[in-house]
Amino acid sequence: MLRKTLFVAWREFSSTVFTKGFLLGVLMMPVIAAIAIGGAALTDRLKGPRVSGSIAVIDRAGGVAPGISARFSKDALKAEKDKAAEAMAAEAKRQAEKFGLPPEQVQAAPAIAAKVVDNAMADADISIDVLAPDADAEIEKIPLATADARQNSDTPVDVRPRLALAVIPPGAIAKGADGEYATFDLFTAPKLDFQIKLRIERKISEAVIDARVQNDPALRASGHTAESIRELMKRPEARVASITATGEKKDLGVGQIFLPMAFMGLLLMSVMTGGQLLLTSTVEEKSSRVMEVLLSAVSPVQLMLGKIVGQMTVSLLMLAMYSGVGVAGLVAFSFMHILDPKLLIYMFIFFFISFFTIASLLAAVGSAVSEMREAQTLQTPIIFLIMIPWLLVLPISRAPNAAYSVALSFVPIINPFVMMIRLTGSEPPPFWQIPVAIAIGLATVVFSVWAAAKVFRIGVLMYGKPPNIRTLIKWVRMA
C-alpha cells in the first residue's frame, strides 16, 4: 500500500524535477537575480552625460538674473554636488545605523553613497547669457531648436549652444492684483538630459524665490534671508522606536512590511507552483489515457496521495531553496537579526497544511476534467480564494491583532497564510492562537483530502462533458 504510493510519489517528483525546464528555471533564478542586482549596481557607476552650453535669461522682473548667474557659476555647481554627496553620505550612515549594521559597514556606507552621487550628477559647464529685459522672446527661442547640448566645452563661449531660455515676468516676484505670483517661462533645447532640465528649472525657481524675499519689505525688515527661511522650513526627522516588554526596539521601517510580504510570497508561490503542477500532471494522465493503466495497479486514493506527496516534495525543495537563498542573503548583509528562526519553522508547518489543502482540491479538479482548458473554470474559485491573503497583507501586518485579523486566522484554507502574515507582523499574536490555527488547518486538510479522494475516484474515469461544481459536490456526497 505505502510502497506503491511512494513509487507514484517518486515518479511524480522525478518527472517534474529532472527536466531541463525545471532545473534551468529553479537554478537560473538566483543567477538572474544576481545579474539584475549587479546590473543595477553597474548603472550607478555610469557617469551622466557631460553637458555644456548657455542659458539665456530675459529678466523682465529685474533682480532675478544675478541670482541665476550665481547659481550656475562653476564654484556653485561644485558646491552643490559636494553638498548632495555629503547629504547622501549622512543619510546612508543614518540608514545603516537604523538597520543595525555592523560598524565596518556603517563606516563604508557614506563613501559608497558619495560615489553614487558623484556618478549620478552630470558634469555641467553652463554659462548664463543675460539678455536685455525688453528682448523679443520669440526671436531668442530660435537658437534652441538647433542646439546640440553635447558639444565640446572647448568651443568659444559666443558660439556655444543655447540650452534654454528663461523669461521672468515682473509678476513672478511681485504679487499681482489677484494676490498670486505669476509663473515664469522656461524653453529648452530638444534632447536635453531630463536631470539637467530639472536642475535648471529648480535653480531658476530658487533665484526667483530669493528675489521675492528681497522684494518683500516686511521680510527685509525682519532680517530674514531666503537662506534662513529655507532652514526654518526644513522638515524635522523623528527617531522612531517601539517600546516592547523587553525594552526599546528599533523600528525597522520598510523591513516591517518586507518580512510578511516575503513569507507570504514564498508560501503562496511554493503552494501554487506545486498545486498547478499536480493539476497539470493529473489532467495529462487523463488526456493521455494512461490513467486506467495506472488504476489497474494502484487504487485511486493511492494514486492521488502519491501524486500529492510527490509534488509536495517538489514544492518543498523549491521552498527550501528560495528560503535558503533568502537566509543566506540576510546573513551576507548582516540582516539576520530581523528574522526570528522560529518563523521558518512556522513557515514549514503552514506550508504542509496549505499544500495538502490546495493540492488535494486541485487534484480533484484535475481528475474531473479531460483537458487543461476545462480545468480553468473549475480552478478559478480556488485561485481566487488563495489570492485573498495577498490583498490582506497590508491591513493584517499593520494590525496583526485586530479583530478581523484574529477572525481570519480561523477561516479554513486561508488561515495558514493569515497566520504567517500575523507571525511576521509588528506584534506577535497571543500564543494560544497558533495551535488553534494549526488545528483548524489540520482539520481542513483531513476534510479536503477526504472530499478530493471521493471526487478523484469517480472523476478519473469520466470522459466527455466536464462536470460543474454542483456535480463535484454531488460526487463528494455520494457514498
Binding site: K4, F7, V8, R11, S15, T19, E284, E285, S288, R289, V290, M291, E292, V293, L294, L295, S296, A297, V298, S299, L461, Y463
Partner: protein
C-alpha cells in the same frame, strides 16, 4: 480447480441506462475466453467491475478466489480499452515503473522491461520517449505493461483495435503464448472473428445481458447451420431443380456467386435428420459441381440468431450484420 472469475447477478446502471443487467458467469481457470458483443453492449463495464475500477450496483463477484480484484491486483494483468502512455517518459522507464507498481521488485523490473521489449522487436526504442513511438509500437508497449509482472489472470479489452495485420498476428501469438503458459485470459472484442480464431470459450453480451456463455466446440455443435454452399458446373437453375428432389434437402436458394453473377451459387439447407458427410456425397452425385462446401458455424451468425430470436425477429439480419461487421473482414469464415 476453482474458476478464475465468478460473478453473480451483477447489475450496473449509469443514470437511466442499464449498462449491465443481472450478469452471472464463471470463467474457468486456464481458459482463453472471448467476451464479444457490439459496441456499447456492456463489455468494458463488465471488465471494469471485474477489475474493481467501478463497483456494481448489486450482485457479487470473486476474482482469483478473492472478493475483489483490489486484493489480487498484482496477480492480474489488465490492458484497458482507454489506454495510453506517459508521453514524456522513456519506454523502458515506463515499463519498469508499471512493473514496480505491480509488485515486481525494483532490481528485476528493469531487466524484465528490456527482455520484453526485445521479445516484441522493440529493443532499440527502450531509451526513446513514448511519444516518439508509432501507434503500433505503443500498443505493443501497452501489452507488455499488462503482462510484465507475469499475472495469473490477463484481461485484455479490445486488444486488437488499431493494429495492422502484421501486428495483429504478433498479438495473437503473444496471447496464445500466455495461454499456453497456463494463464487465464479474458479478452473483449467487437470483432467476432478474432474471438473465433483464438478462444476456447465465448461469452456473448448484448444490451447488458449475457446471451451466450459456452465453449467454442459446444457452440459449433449447438449452432451447426446444416448448410452447404455449392457452385454448380453448368446451369445453376437446372442443378437446383435436381437437388430439390433429394429427400435430405429441405431448401435450395440461388444466390450470387463469388464472381458476382446472380444465381450462380446455391445455398442448400439440410433436413434435421441428414448427416452432412452423406449429404455432401449425395449432392455431388445428383449434379456436377465445381465446388461443394459445408458451412461452419460463425459466431456472427450465432449472435445475430440469438439476438433476433430474443427480439422476436423484428430486426433484419442484414441490419444487424451491417452494424457489427468490420468493413474489411469477410462476413463468413467458410
Amino acid at each position: 480447480m476453482p474458476d478464475a472469475i465468478v460473478t453473480r447477478n451483477l447489475t450496473k446502471t449509469f443514470g437511466k441506462k442499464v449498462a449491465v443487467r443481472d450478469l452471472s458467469l464463471a470463467i474457468p481457470t486456464g481458459s482463453l475466453c472471448g467476451v464479444i458483443g457490439p459496441n456499447g453492449a456492456g463489455k468494458t463495464t463488465t471488465i471494469r467491475m471485474i477489475m474493481s475500477i467501478i463497483f456494481p450496483d448489486s450482485g457479487e463477484l470473486s476474482v482469483l478466489g478473492k472478493a475483489s480484484a483490489v486484493e489480487s491486483k498484482d496477480r492480474i494483468g489488465y490492458l484497458p480499452e482507454e489506454r495510453g502512455l506517459y508521453k514524456k517518459m522513456r519506454v523502458a522507464a515506463f515499463l519498469a515503473y508499471i512493473a514496480k507498481l505491480k509488485g515486481v521488485d525494483s532490481a528485476a523490473a528493469g531487466k524484465k522491461a528490456a527482455h520484453w521489449l526485445a521479445r516484441v522487436g522493440l529493443g532499440d526504442v527502450a531509451r526513446k520517449k513514448c511519444e516518439e513511438l508509432s501507434k503500433g509500437m505503443q500498443q505493443k508497449v501497452q501489452f507488455i505493461a499488462s503482462v510484465i509482472h507475469e499475472p495469473d489472470l490477463l484481461i485484455l479489452d479490445e486488444v486488437f483495435s488499431g493494429l495492422d495485420p502484421v501486428n495483429r498476428r504478433l498479438m495473437r501469438e503473444l496471447i496464445d503464448e500466455q495461454h499456453r503458459a497456463g494463464r487465464t485470459i479474458l479478452f473483449s472484442t467487437h470483432a467476432m472473428y478474432e474471438a473465433e480464431q483464438l478462444c476456447d470459450r465465448i461469452l456473448m453480451i448484448h444490451d447488458g445481458r449475457k446471451v451466450l456463455d459456452s465453449t467454442l466446440a459446444q457452440i459449433r455443435a449447438d449452432f451447426d447451420p446444416r448448410t452447404i454452399v455449392a457452385e454448380p458446373d453448368g446451369d445453376p437453375a437446372a442443378a437446383a431443380e435436381l437437388l430439390r428432389r433429394l429427400p435430405i434437402i429441405r431448401e435450395v436458394e440461388s444466390v450470387a456467386g463469388d464472381n458476382g453473377r446472380p444465381g450462380s451459387q446455391l445455398t442448400i439447407r439440410l433436413v434435421d435428420s441428414a448427416q452432412p458427410p452423406a449429404a455432401l456425397a449425395a449432392i455431388t452425385a445428383a449434379a456436377p459441381m465445381r465446388r461443394v462446401e459445408l458451412t461452419r458455424v460463425n459466431l456472427e451468425d450465432v449472435f445475430i440468431d440469438l439476438v433476433q430470436t430474443e427480439a422476436g425477429a423484428t430486426i433484419s439480419r442484414d441490419a444487424l450484420r451491417a452494424a457489427d461487421s468490420p468493413a474489411l473482414e469477410p462476413a463468413h469464415a467458410s
